[in-house]
Amino acid sequence: MKRASLVLLTLILVLATGLSACAPAPATPAAPAEEAEPAAPAAEAPPALDVVKWEYPASFGGVTINLVGDAGHNLKPYEFWKGDFEKVGITVQIIEVPFEGVYEKEKTEFVAGTGAFDVVTFYPAYIGDFAGNGYLEPLDEYMAKDPAGAWDPNASDVLAPFWELYCKFGGQVYALPIDGDVLMLMYRKDLFEHPDEQAAFKEQYGKDLAPPETWDDWLQIGEFFTREAGETLAGETLERDFYGSAEFAKRGFSFAWFVNRWAAFGEPYFDENMTPMVNSPNAVKALQNMVDSLKNAPPDVLGYGYDELRDAFIKSNVAMVVQWTDVPKKGADPTQSEIAGKIGVGRVPGWEVGGQVVHRSLMPVGRVVAVAADSKNKEAAYWVAKHVSYDRSLEDVSTALTGLDPYRTTHFTNPQAYKMFPTAEEAQAYLKGVEAAMADGYPEIFIPGAAQFEDSLDLHVNKALAGQETPQAALDAVATEWDETTDKLGRDAQIDLWRKALEAYRTLGLIK
């Protein structure tokens, strides 16, 4: 027994060596060798569509571009178009970071000045942080290079809110779009068009049943469609409870569903002097509307994030939701969706302001690519970014192999590319909805400190939803915290940046 510990140690040693021997040899830093490994099956790629005109620049002569982005299918375009990059002497080496950790990882490497990345994929809410800190290369000069076919990213083709608010900072271009996230309305076409329901609605509310135009309609229709198991819905007896509407009410992005309701009043996050507008009477009304809407939502709605909200809709539990634009794509797939072919899309509801209804839909998340200021191969890095943002972008956003969403006019005028829809008409209807939503697009906070401002907002909106605070108290707390944050970050500098942001708001007509 005295040898017990020795035996134990030996065992662990044997196990360790054995296991590391089974594993493939440790990777050496020499990356090109790995690239040659034939282990990976040739990446499935969408067919080249060649809808837009572009050309190759002169070869960059065998450079390696380190590209960082959130892991998963949104990095697939760099595999799809590997051949294009090889043709101009570029090897794209992908560094994948889990979705949850992209900002931390990129920021840490930037702060430490490691120069590890050439092309950076990030969420545009951080553009103020990244561009303002000088981590990113201004792109205007590269965009203007000759020949235009090789260098021009055709910015005029990108829907204006996304380009003006998410790619530029302080008047200069710092990023190119690759994923155009925006929220839109989606509803159960079959229910809204069912004659029994239309008649019942007319009788109850004295008006026609139609997709909600205002947030007051949202509450009314939500109430109308909320039924218990055993009641009838569209002529069929319900086996389980059915709900009128649902929200993203979990911590994280619940603030976005509030901003949808607030922004239509034409009030930006702050005024000219960085005084928070978030506790205005209109804002309180908006939050009250969101709180009220939970009555018509499933009982676990406070646990609804993106996935739960999507599933509640496509598993036929709710009649309407506001969601990211990729939900109808999944909803059209009968293997996953119980409502394939029954989805209608439209503009996010709004408020009547000055005699007409104003709609705003938040553009949460989204993805842009930028060139790191300390990259050693900026031209090649820029071309990689431009190639996925423009040349091959229709292919990337129209395939089911990625999760990227459309953001350019050409993406909306080519419904034939979207093969996940059974008919071109369905694709057309979907794209029209997305285009309209994008045109209503409203930005997240994108000045430095965005994460902090949005976290305050999200926390208190969520407290109001959970009944911990009244809407007024919640938004007052947000205003106080926003002021503290502004002071902490440096009020004068923040005011400067915010005024520039307001100019972009004005250009787009988001405020008067």
Partner: protein
Amino acid sequence: MRRMTRLEAAVTAGLLIAALIFFMFPVVWMFLTSFKSEAEYFHYPPVFIPKDFDFRNYFNAMAFPPDGRGGLQGLRDSLIIATATTLVAVLIGSLAAYSLSRFKTGGDNFSFWILSTRMFPPVAAALPLFLIFKQIRLLDTHLALIIANTIFNLPFVIWLMKGFFDELPGELEEAALIDGCSQVGAFVRVALPLVTPGLVATSLFSFIFAWNEFMFALLLTRRNVRTLTIIVPSLVGGHEILWGEIAAIGTIAIIPGILLSILLQRYLVRGLTLGAVKG
């Protein structure tokens, strides 16, 4: 020990079964999910038994990210890091623990300083550690993670082993010393064999802590090294959670731990009597 009466045996069995249900339910759920198809993840009523036990989620997970080697690379890197961390931490940790327990080296303050290094919130330690590893050019290597994990595991190993040594009556080693053993000999031949169960438990947890570590794995690696804990959240795209693939990786990831625990349990069995020291 007395033998159990029939009633006692029945109660024991009942309690163990109840505990098994509680502790195994999520595990079984994960295992079953690893075979489900997309339509079966969220379904009413919930699908417990998938239609067919197909390994596609496993293949997808092992070849997941675009470069097609994610899961395998994760498995390899996690094994290297967790094994090396365990070896280093347990080896130098037990020595230190013995010294602290028997000789009170450095006194209470010294041993408390060791423990306190585990108390510091990792979020705050992350940036300075990153700067160190950048300076010594160890970013994106196995060694960086082995070092980082060792720092957080060492206090654990030292304190737990100190507890086991404290539990051990010191008279045994004294007898050995009188017999002419050296201090080192008393440690290796007398003390260590007697705390083998503790050593096993400590090693196992040291392995598991390193195996499950996430934050340093996120910050200190890029491309050459990617642990399983990095691969799992990578399966959550911005718009899509690959439930089946996550469950598949989760299932694979517990295999080394289970094997290790079965293997090591030989040393976790009663039977050590004082007389056994004689060998």
